[in-house]
Subunit: 230 residues, 2 copies
């Protein structure tokens, strides 16, 4: 009778949620249609009504269902938009890094044109912090490196761009730490890449878009090449 059977290893709500989600993703309940009522679902799933309600609410929060009092529950989407953190986690590091490079090269050009006095202070501070982090551990150093790049992107003064970089940063962190350790980049050169980063910052400070773009490209491309080799 009950479609879920006598097995109860995981919470019932979760089972019910998955069951309903399958009906949607597999097309049994196309977008726009009304799904059976609470009482009916409770009977067919072999669970209580409150359990069904919580499952429906979960899928409503995920954007698959929408319940309208008095009318019923309707399917409004058949798949959840996977969020970027998980998408980036699944993607290849080189692909992520390549996109990061695309973004940042152009961001550096914009930053050179738009940087304010506050940006200059922040850039100098970030550069100094990166240099200082040369004395610390690899994770600390990578964090300081990312912070510097974040300062460059911030100087472009485009909130969408800033958000986008913020999305990529955590995905890059671990890959960069691994890279530094694998190649032992900092063994004889604790603040590895200091000269290129200095050039980048100086180009942005000088307002030279072309140089800034080239500096960013050169710096990122060398790292990308190492990532590809690893």
């Amino acid at each position: 009778m009950s479609s879920l059977g006598p097995l109860r290893p995981s919470p019932l709500v979760e089972q019910a949620t998955n069951h309903l989600r399958e009906q949607i993703t597999e097309g049994h309940w196309p977008v726009g249609t009304r799904i059976p009522g609470e009482t009916t679902l409770a009977r067919t799933l072999g669970v209580g009504r409150s359990t069904v309600r919580e499952a429906v609410r979960t899928l409503a929060t995920l954007g698959l269902l929408q319940s309208r009092q008095g009318a019923g529950v309707f399917v409004i989407a058949d798949r959840v938009t996977e969020d970027w953190p998980t998408r980036l986690r699944r993607a290849a590091v080189t692909d992520v890094y390549e996109v990061r490079m695309l973004i940042e090269v152009q961001a550096a050009r914009l930053a050179a044109r738009r940087r304010t006095d506050e940006d200059l202070i922040a850039l100098d501070a970030a550069l100094a912090a990166r240099r200082a982090a040369g004395a610390g551990g690899d994770a600390e150093f990578v964090d300081a490196d990312i912070a510097l790049h974040r300062a460059v992107v911030a100087a472009a003064h485009n909130p969408v761009l800033t958000d986008l970089f913020g999305e990529f940063a955590p995905a890059l962190r671990q890959g960069l730490i691994d890279l530094v350790e694998l190649f032992g980049l900092r063994r004889e050169d604790p603040d590895h890449g200091d000269a290129t980063h200095d050039a980048l910052v100086r180009a942005v400070v000088a307002g030279d878009a072309e140089s800034a773009g080239r500096a960013a490209q050169a710096e990122l491309e060398s790292t990308l090449a190492r990532l590809r080799a690893a």
Copy 2:
């Protein structure tokens, strides 16, 4: 007594959800702490226990709470990672378009280096489709235009990049349709921009990264200038 008072304009669960979310985001319940029990919350909020449960489940789905049977409900995050569709919807069209330009200029360069024979066929088809859409409505034309740009990005063969463009496309669509109508771009020139798009495609086909980048930049910058003027 009841913190929610006698007002009942919106569903109680929603009110309870917002109330709990505020407690979290405003720091009254720091990450890691246990929140009061369902029965206690029901009493303080002046609602039933099932209402509290659905509110908690909503926040759990959003990743703010985690409930463990027998132990309690715990705060595991103090802010939800806003998804890109809503973020882009809230952002200024010009900012979104600018980032799109950054991405696509570099994508065009990559595409020129990596395009396969299949890409060439798809590019030609998309270009022809855009030309054909000149006879249709504005929405149809914009869709064909976006499809062509999507084909260019796809030729770069970076899945992260393709996904990223897919994220931006819907946010751009309406803005572009409005732009076309506002400026009446197609009144005397139904397939507006055909020459520049043709140049872009030919550069990608020829494998000329520099020309492709310049063509994309020129095309997108002119549109961006119009958006800024609007």
